[in-house]
């Protein structure tokens, strides 16, 4: 997956949403409830924080039976993240692919002229 964002908050938001957009499609409205889940993470560096963030979302998604369709990133700095993941019932979605995890393999995160860019390989 290659992801771009104008800043780090944008990059983390786009990456998190992309994980669910590539694997699922909203098809039904069986449950209209939206659930907010606070996510707070810390890591030794940005790359670890990025992988941990994606894995936390995948893990929460499977554990709680939710697909996350909105991510409110309050803070990404100094190896810590504070966010709220907004999900709705997985029963509202057609899930095509099970993503097991995000990996460190060939992981790249870099800042360029027009913002941030990341490349991450997912185990599917």
């Amino acid at each position: 997956m290659r992801i771009k964002g104008k800043d780090l908050k944008d990059l983390f938001k786009h990456a998190g949403l992309a994980v669910f957009q590539v694997s699922s499609r909203r098809q039904f409205t069986r449950n209209k409830t939206h659930i907010d889940i606070p996510v707070k993470l810390s890591a030794d560096n940005l790359e670890e924080l990025f992988v941990n963030w994606l894995n936390e979302l995948l893990s929460l998604s499977q554990a709680r039976g939710l697909i996350f369709h909105d991510l409110k990133i309050k803070k990404v700095e100094g190896g810590s993240l504070d966010a709220v993941a907004v999900g709705s019932d997985i029963a509202n979605y057609k899930v095509n692919t099970e993503i097991k995890a995000a990996t460190f393999h060939e992981l790249k995160i870099a800042q360029g002229g027009s913002g941030w860019e990341a490349k991450v390989i997912l185990d599917v």
């Binding site: 893990s59 554990a63 095509n96 692919t97 460190f104 393999h105 992981l107 185990d123």
Partner: protein
């Protein structure tokens, strides 16, 4: 004598040819390699293998502290994450040997079981559609599928320690099933306290589910016998109906791997370990972190054995309904169940001395010969059944472990091995065309989604016949019989 074969392809790695089925990546390829890499392949397979970065990963695995003999690659090797898929690496635990969650993978104890029946193709051909649909209905499959086999909160920890025995005690199988399962369906040393709450939460409700991706349940017919004596010993004959089940530890295993990869990334600095890829994060087997991972990994392995036992129970029940006969009368006994994503503490001879090793098999099957102490009594004279699934359009194999596999820590391949990524396969395959083509060859496919069908198309895989040829000719396991698919359930 080894000779260098340059320019075999565009790839930079100049391999040394050892013989027609063995190739070496010398230690000089990359500073930091502690041992050479050895790849089991013929020239035809090597061309496919060189299409991705798997050989580079074989070299990277050779950096692991305590690795002995070589970083090994089976002929179905393909690009993984950190470790190649089809990789085998053994570390000497008395000499700083490490364990790496990446050397097992996210789907801990993904594995295969093979069930025989007394049915012949003639008995099944007119009921194949009904049988395939019944299996699809009875065996939960697909992303996020939930099973009818419920595990109470208190039972969960019992299941993680007892593995397949938990299911048998629930009436979902027999002692004979356990005898015919690697580690008797429960590897010793599982530590439920080493498992995170999230892993429990993630694995909840998934017992007795097949999963998705490359997991499958197939009704197959034996179409080729190679070793008549072994077939007789196993009660197998041409045209006989078999069932193959491929599944793993589902979300439970993914979470265990993720939890410990996350913590072991920090062990690299703590134990002064240098590896070229953080997905190879590891810790000494004898460290607190290494022991905790192995305790949790064994829980996931046992979860997977319980899961495949439940899946076999559901399969037997579907057969009973369609053929109106008990599974015992249908002769549905388990040939064997093998893990192909696991790390195990085993004793092997290295440089003439017995060593206690942590053997990582990441997409590789244990392959022990006749007489080995780890064999159940019924296979002592025969050797371990080695089950090799292929793709949904070609074949699968049953082999038997050979003494020649001592050079691979008694390991063989685990499948056909991908040549195309899921995305590339999906782009180049039309589901309707593929289903029609398979139907014209008598293969019925039922899947939860069309995406799985195109991602798992036969052309996404190497020809398993070529892969098994190398395993047989290299002396790692010998061919017993070959099956062809009839009814395929995909997640």
């Amino acid at each position: 004598m080894a000779r260098t074969v340059p320019n075999l392809t565009m790839d930079d790695i100049a391999l040394e040819k050892i013989d027609d089925y063995r190739w070496r990546i010398p230690r000089s390829y990359k500073p930091g390699m502690r041992v050479p890499g050895i790849i089991y392949a013929d020239e035809k397979l090597l061309k496919d293998i060189r299409q991705d970065k798997a050989l580079e990963q074989v070299a990277n695995v050779a950096f692991l502290p305590g690795i002995v003999k070589a970083s090994l690659a089976m002929p179905d090797i393909h690009w993984g994450y950190g470790f190649p898929i089809g990789g085998v690496a053994a570390t000497d635990i008395e000499n700083g040997g490490v364990v790496s969650p990446g050397g097992v993978g996210f789907d801990i104890n993904c594995g295969v079981r093979l069930v025989r029946t007394d049915l012949q193709f003639e008995d099944v051909k007119d009921k194949l559609k009904e049988l395939t649909y019944a299996l699809f209905s009875d065996v939960p499959s697909g992303v996020g599928s939930k099973g009818d086999i419920r595990v109470g909160a208190k039972e969960e920890k019992e299941l993680l320690v007892k593995g397949a025995k938990w299911a048998v005690e629930k009436g979902l199988g027999t002692q004979d099933d356990l005898d015919c399962t690697e580690e008797e369906g429960a590897i010793q040393g599982a530590d439920p306290a080493a498992v995170s709450e999230r892993a429990y939460e993630r694995g909840k409700a998934q017992s007795g589910t097949l999963g998705s991706g490359n997991h499958f349940l197939e009704v197959q017919a034996i179409d080729q016998l190679y070793d008549r004596d072994a077939c007789d010993a196993l009660g197998l004959n041409s045209g006989q109906i078999m069932v193959m089940i491929h599944s793993g530890s589902r979300g439970f295993g993914y979470q265990v791997c993720e939890d410990y990869t996350r913590s072991m990334v920090h062990c690299l600095a703590k134990y002064n370990i240098s590896v070229p890829d953080r997905q190879l994060a590891c810790a000494p087997v004898n460290s607190a972190e290494g022991k905790a991972y192995l305790g949790a990994m064994k829980c996931a392995a046992n979860y997977a054995w319980a899961n495949r036992q439940c899946l076999m129970h559901l399969t037997r029940r579907a057969f009973e309904r369609i053929f109106n006969m008990s599974w015992q009368k249908l002769g549905m006994s388990l040939i064997y169940d093998v893990a192909h994503n696991i790390a195990k503490i085993e004793k092997h001879i290295v440089d003439g001395k017995e060593k206690t090793l942590c053997v990582h098999r990441k997409g590789a099957t244990r392959s022990i010969p006749a007489g080995h102490p780890a064999l159940p009594q019924k296979y002592k004279k025969l050797g371990q059944p080695v089950i090799i699934p292929g793709d949904m359009g070609r074949n699968s194999y049953l082999l038997i472990g050979q003494e020649g596999a001592a050079e691979t820590f008694y390991s063989a391949c685990h499948g056909a091995g991908r040549v195309k990524s899921r995305t590339a396969s999906a782009r180049s395959t039309n589901a309707d065309t593929l289903l029609k083509e398979l139907a014209s060859r008598g293969i019925i496919v039922k899947a939860s989604g069309r995406e799985t069908i195109v991602e798992e198309a036969p052309q996404a895989y190497k020809d398993v016949n070529d892969v098994v040829d190398v395993v047989h000719n290299a002396g790692l396991a010998k061919r017993v019989c070959r099956m062809r698919p009839l009814g395929v359930i995909k997640g």
